[in-house]
């Protein structure tokens, strides 16, 4: 069966990530993922869109974020693409140092990528399909090795 794709173009304005996150969770539930997994994906997609808005597009309201959701037989892949106004952020991520943030030693924030990687099966930057911008891909699998279904 051919893969199905759903494409969305959202303004680079906070709040619009909610459209993408809800579409992603709806698709995940339609595919048979549990509500919990769909909600995990929802949060991850929201964070990825915000990262794209902030780091990729520098919150330039004249730009867009492109979200492509590809339904495979065994997985759902979500690609979030920005217009690449800044360099590609690193995908190296450590758990946020909450103690240091609470103590005021470092500014609060920088938790988005850690949260994404904790909630989905795969999360990484890939070569952009269109050759420009940063393309961040998240994948959740219906069946995970050693686990009884999603």
């Amino acid at each position: 069966m051919a893969n199905r794709t759903v494409e969305l173009k959202i303004p680079c304005e906070t709040g619009y990530e909610k459209v993408a996150m809800r579409m992603a969770s709806d698709l995940a539930e339609k595919m048979g993922f549990s509500q919990e997994r769909a909600q995990d994906l929802e949060i991850a997609v929201a964070e990825a869109c915000i990262n794209a808005m902030e780091h990729g597009n520098q919150f330039d309201v004249s730009t867009k974020i492109y979200v492509t959701m590809t339904i495979h037989e065994d997985r759902l892949a979500i690609d979030v693409v920005d217009e690449g106004r800044s360099g590609r952020p690193s995908t190296q991520v450590e758990a946020p140092d909450m103690q240091a943030q609470i103590d005021g030693l470092i500014p609060p924030g920088g938790m988005g990528l850690f949260v994404i990687k904790s909630l989905v099966d795969e999360a990484e930057f890939v070569e952009p399909d269109l050759g420009t911008g940063n393309q961040f891909r998240m994948v959740i699998h219906l069946q995970q090795p050693g686990q009884p279904g999603a």
């Binding site: 995990d40 915000i50 946020p96 924030g109 938790m111 850690f114």
Partner: protein, 114 residues
């Protein structure tokens, strides 16, 4: 396009309660901090953030709460949080924010706690 954050503040015998209705993200930074400052200006030392009507929170919103906790810690105030959905509690636990506030399922439980 955030569902505008609406803040409802009130006092109880035990704590100042700040209800966060709608979306909690970076756009609520000023309002949330001001609500906290207004609450403690009356002399209370315990502030409860009731998030039962919080529709959406992202890590930017959690950063706003972290900033409040940071301020509270310096001032010797206590921050309680109630009503966080299991969905978002998972994120609070992931980033370890739940380690630095006292969390309750409901406002009633928060106010009844010793």
């Amino acid at each position: 396009m955030s569902s505008a954050l609406k803040i409802v503040s009130r006092m109880t015998d035990k704590a100042a309660v700040i209800e966060l209705h709608g979306d909690v993200d970076s756009s609520g930074d000023v309002a949330v901090k001001q609500a906290y400052r207004d609450a403690v200006s009356s002399g209370v030392s315990t502030v409860l953030f009731n998030m039962a009507k919080t529709a959406y929170i992202n890590t930017s919103g959690i950063s706003v709460l972290i900033a409040v906790v940071m301020e509270a810690k310096k001032a010797g105030h206590k921050i309680l949080v109630s009503g966080v959905s299991p969905h978002y509690k998972k994120v609070f636990d992931l980033v370890r924010f739940s380690t630095y506030v006292t969390m309750f399922d409901t406002e009633e439980a928060a106010l009844a706690a010793p």
